[in-house]
Symmetry: C2
Subunit: 477 residues, 2 copies
C-alpha cells in the first residue's frame, strides 16, 4: 500500500479510510501513542498502537529515532492538539534506533552539540523548521526573479581572476605539494596546473553577471561564494550562498527599489508558506529571550519583526547624513563606540550600523552615496567626485544584508580607477569590453543568503542556518 505523507494526512478531511504512513518515531508514550514525523511538516501524526495485540519485542523497538511503517484507520482524534490520528492495525519496524546510543534524545540539546551532529540535527523540530524555511526562501528567490523576466546565470565557481578584492581567496589546484613543478626561476609553474594558471574559488559572480546583464538585460546569480578569512564569528562562513541580481539601465534608485521589493517578497513568501515552522521558531526565540536580562530582550516577537519589515518602508539615508547622526549620537559623545566617529570618510563599523538601525531609526536602513575611498573600484563615481553610488542595506540584529551599487559605465573613469588601485588591465580585458562596446548604466547588488535565513528564522549563529557549515578548522561531513 502506498504511503501518504504526514502533511497530507493532517490536512485530510476524509477519515475512516485505511492509510499507511512512514516516518521516524519522535516519542512513544504509554506503550500506545507514537508521535510520527516524516519531515514533510513540523507536525507529528499520532499513531495509536493496539498494544495488547502487539508483541513485546515490537513495542520495545518503537524508540525515538526508529523508522517505522504504520497502517491503520485515519480517524478523528479524541486527544488535544490534533484533528486526526491513525488507529494502527499493522506496524513494521523499518530501522531500529538504539535508545542508549541515539544522539538526538527527546530533550533540548545545545546548539553546539547539534553542530557536531549536523547530519542528525535536521531531525529536531528546530532544524527541520530552519531547513524547510531555507528551502522556501530559496524558491522564493527564483520565483521573484523569474516572474519578472530575469534570467538565472551560473557564473563560474573556479576563477582565474582575483580582481574583485572582496576578500581572501582559497586556492584551487591539482598540483602536488611534494615535487611541485617549478619554472627556471624556481617559482611554482602554474602553467602546469590543471587550468594552466593560478585559480581560486570565487568571492562574487558580479563581474561575470555584468557581462550577461549587458546582453540579456536582467539577470541574477544564486550560488556558493567563498572567503578564506579567519573570521570565527557568528556572522561569517567560509562557504556561503549569495544572490546577485544585475540589471541593465537601472540607476541607484531603481537598484534600491529592486532590493527592497525583493526582500519583502521573499520574506512574505516565507511568512505565508511556512506558518507552522515560523510559529515554532517564534516560540523558540521567545524561550531563548527569557534567559536574557529584560533590557536585552527584543521588543518584538519573530513574526512581529517580519511583519514590521513587510509593512514599513526601508529608511534611505545618505552616508553623509548617517555620519552627522553618528557624530552627535550619545555613544559617540560619551565615547562608548570602540571606533569614534570624528570625520566624514570613516568606514562604518558594525557598532555604528547597529546604532543606526536598532537605536536611531528602528527599522531597516539603506545607506547610500558612500565615500569612493572605502568602496570597490567598479562603483559609479558621483558628480561630486568624492562619493560613489553605493548602497548597503542594514537589518536589525543582522547588520549588512545587502551591498550593491550602480556600476561605473564610463570606460575612461573605470580605467583611471583601476590604474590607481593597481588592478591589472590585461586580466580584466573582458570586463572592460562591456564598457568598450555598447556600455550603459547598470546596477546590481549582492545579498548574503544565510543572513536572510538568520533574519527570517530568528537564529543568531550563521552556522545554524546552513546544513553543513564551513568555518576555520571545520570541514566535517
Amino acid at each position: 500500500m502506498k504511503h501518504i505523507k504526514v502533511v497530507d494526512l493532517l490536512n485530510n478531511t476524509k477519515t475512516l479510510q485505511e492509510v499507511t504512513a512512514k516516518g521516524w518515531v519522535r516519542t512513544f508514550r504509554n506503550n500506545q501513542f507514537i508521535a510520527l514525523n516524516d519531515g514533510s511538516t513540523i507536525q507529528n501524526i499520532q499513531c495509536v498502537v493496539d498494544f495488547e495485540n502487539t508483541s513485546e519485542e515490537t513495542l520495545r523497538r518503537i524508540t525515538t529515532g526508529a523508522a517505522v511503517a504504520v497502517t491503520g484507520t485515519l480517524q478523528e482524534s479524541q486527544g488535544k492538539g490534533q484533528k486526526v490520528e491513525i488507529q494502527v492495525t499493522k506496524l513494521e519496524i523499518l530501522g531500529d534506533s538504539d535508545a542508549e546510543k541515539y544522539p538526538i534524545q527527546p530533550k533540548k540539546h545545545s546548539l553546539e552539540f547539534l553542530r557536531e551532529n549536523a547530519h542528525l540535527r535536521v531531525r529536531t523540530n528546530a532544524f527541520g523548521a530552519i531547513m524547510r524555511v531555507r528551502s522556501a526562501l530559496s524558491f522564493a528567490v527564483h520565483q521573484y526573479f523569474q516572474e519578472r523576466g530575469f534570467f538565472y546565470v551560473n557564473t563560474p565557481i573556479i576563477t582565474g581572476s582575483d580582481a574583485e578584492g572582496a576578500g581572501e581567496m582559497f586556492r584551487v589546484t591539482a598540483l602536488p605539494f611534494d615535487g611541485t613543478p617549478r619554472d627556471e626561476e624556481g617559482k611554482v609553474d602554474f602553467k602546469k596546473d590543471f587550468f594552466g594558471k593560478e585559480t581560486n574559488l570565487t568571492v562574487s559572480g558580479q563581474l561575470e553577471a555584468e557581462t550577461y546583464a549587458m546582453a540579456l538585460g536582467q539577470v541574477y546569480t544564486f550560488g556558493p561564494t567563498f572567503r578564506a578569512e579567519n573570521s570565527n564569528t557568528s556572522r561569517h562562513l567560509a562557504e556561503f550562498w549569495m544572490i546577485e541580481p544585475e540589471v541593465a539601465f537601472n540607476d541607484l534608485d531603481a537598484n534600491m527599489d529592486l532590493a527592497e521589493d525583493f526582500i519583502k517578497y521573499v520574506v512574505r513568501y516565507a511568512v505565508e508558506k511556512c506558518a507552522d515552522d515560523l510559529q515554532f521558531l517564534e516560540q523558540r526565540l521567545a524561550d531563548e529571550e527569557k534567559q536574557k536580562p529584560q533590557a536585552e530582550r527584543s521588543e518584538m516577537s519573530l513574526l512581529e519583526k517580519l511583519n514590521f519589515v513587510l509593512e514599513n518602508n526601508f529608511k534611505r539615508v545618505s552616508y553623509t547624513e548617517a555620519i552627522d547622526i553618528l557624530k552627535s549620537s550619545t555613544p559617540n559623545k560619551k565615547k562608548k563606540f570602540q571606533y569614534l566617529i570624528d570625520e566624514w570618510g570613516a568606514d562604518l563599523q558594525s557598532e555604528h550600523e547597529r546604532y543606526l538601525v536598532e537605536k536611531h531609526f528602528k527599522c531597516p536602513v539603506i545607506l547610500f552615496d558612500y565615500p569612493a575611498k572605502i568602496k570597490a573600484f567598479y562603483m559609479r563615481l558621483n558628480e561630486d567626485e568624492k562619493t560613489v553610488r553605493a548602497m548597503d542595506i542594514l537589518f536589525p540584529g543582522i547588520g549588512e544584508i545587502v551591498g550593491g551599487s550602480q556600476r561605473e559605465e564610463r570606460y575612461d573613469v573605470l580605467i583611471e580607477k583601476m590604474k590607481a588601485l593597481n588592478i591589472p588591465e590585461e586580466e580584466m580585458w573582458w570586463y572592460l569590453d562591456t564598457r568598450r562596446f555598447g556600455s550603459a548604466i547598470h546596477s546590481g547588488f549582492g545579498l548574503g543568503f544565510e543572513r536572510l535565513v538568520l533574519f527570517v528564522t530568528g537564529m543568531t549563529n550563521i552556522r545554524d542556518v546552513i546544513p553543513f557549515p564551513r568555518t576555520p578548522q571545520n570541514a566535517e561531513f
Copy 2:
C-alpha cells in the same frame, strides 16, 4: 520616461502610444531601420529612424553593438515579420560600439571563436537563446520539486571527505607552495590548513543529501560539482551543475518513475515557455545538419525530438538484457565496437550505450540492475548478490544523462562493502549513522544539468551551454 522591455512591447496591442525602449543595436539598415534587442526575447523590435531629421553624426554612431535609447510612437508595422514597430522621435546613444573593433559582427561566427569571447557571445541570437532556455530549465527544476514537497538542500562545496570516488578531485587550500608547513616526518601538515585537514571540491552532494532525506523525507540539491579529470571531450566539464534528488522510502522502481517524470516535466516546461528560442535553435540545428552527409543527419528535428521524449515511455531494460542484445548485435559480431562485448559483467562504453539508444530502441533507455562490481559502494545489493539496484538513463546524442540507485540501507552489508573497497569507516561515521539510527530504504539520482541543456537546445558541445566553461587549460574570465 520609464522604458518598456522589448518582449512587452512586442506583445502590446495598444498601439499609437508613446514608448521608450533601451537595448543594443543588432543591425541598422538603410540609415533608417534599427533592429533593437534587449535580451528579454530573441525577437528584435524594429525602430524606424527619421533619418532626415537626425544628425549625420548620430546616424554614424548607430552601429552593431551600440547601446541606445529610443522614444517614439508604437505603431502597427508595415514590414514583414513584426506586428509593431517604433516610429522614433528621440534617439540617444548610450554607449558606442566601434564597428571596426566589435568582435560580434552581424554574421555567423564559429563556436570556437565565440568561446574565446564568452563574455560577448550571449549577445548573439544562438547564445541568448541557449542561456534563456538554460534559465527556464533551472526554474523548472526548482518548481518541479517544490510543487511536490521536496526541500532544497545546499550540500557543501568544500568537502573533507573523498570517499564517494566519483572521480579525481581538486584540492582547496590556503597553504602556500613555498614554505609549506610540514610535520616531523616532513609531510605536509594539513592541520595548519584553513580547515585543519585536507579538503577538496565536491564531486557529489549525494551522501550529505541522504542524511537530509532521512529527516525531511524528500530533498534535492542543485549546485556546482567538480571533476579534476583531464577529459578534453565535448561531454565533460571540470565544473558543472548537478541535480540530486534523494527520497526516503523510495525503491528503485519509484526512483525510475521519479526520474522519468522529472525529465518530462522540465523538458515540457522549456517547450512551452521558450517557443521562440527553441524555434531558432531548431533552425540552427537544421542548418548545421545540412553540412553533414545524409546518412549522419538526424531523422528528427529538435522539437520533434523533444516531443518524442514527452510522448513516449522510456524503455526500461535490465543490464542483463542489454548485454544479450549487445552480444548478438551486428557491430559486436562484425567487430565494429572498439570494446567487444563477450561476457556478462563488462562495463558499458559510450559506443554500447549509443547503440542501444540510437539504433536498437530508438528512444530514451533506463538500464537497471548492474553488476555490483562496476558500481559504487553505496548501492543496494540485490538478492542475487551479484547485481545492485542501480539505474542509468541514456539519451540519444547525449549518452548518460542520469545515474542513480536505491541505496544500501543495511548497516552490515554496507560496512562489508566499505571494508572490501578500503573506504575508511572513521571518515564515514556520519554516513553510517543514517544506517545505525532509523535506517530505511531510500533512493536518488544525479542529473548532469548541462547534458540536459545540451539535449534541449540541440547543441553538441557542452562548453556551449554553460556561461563560462571550465576545462583543462581553460579558466578564462
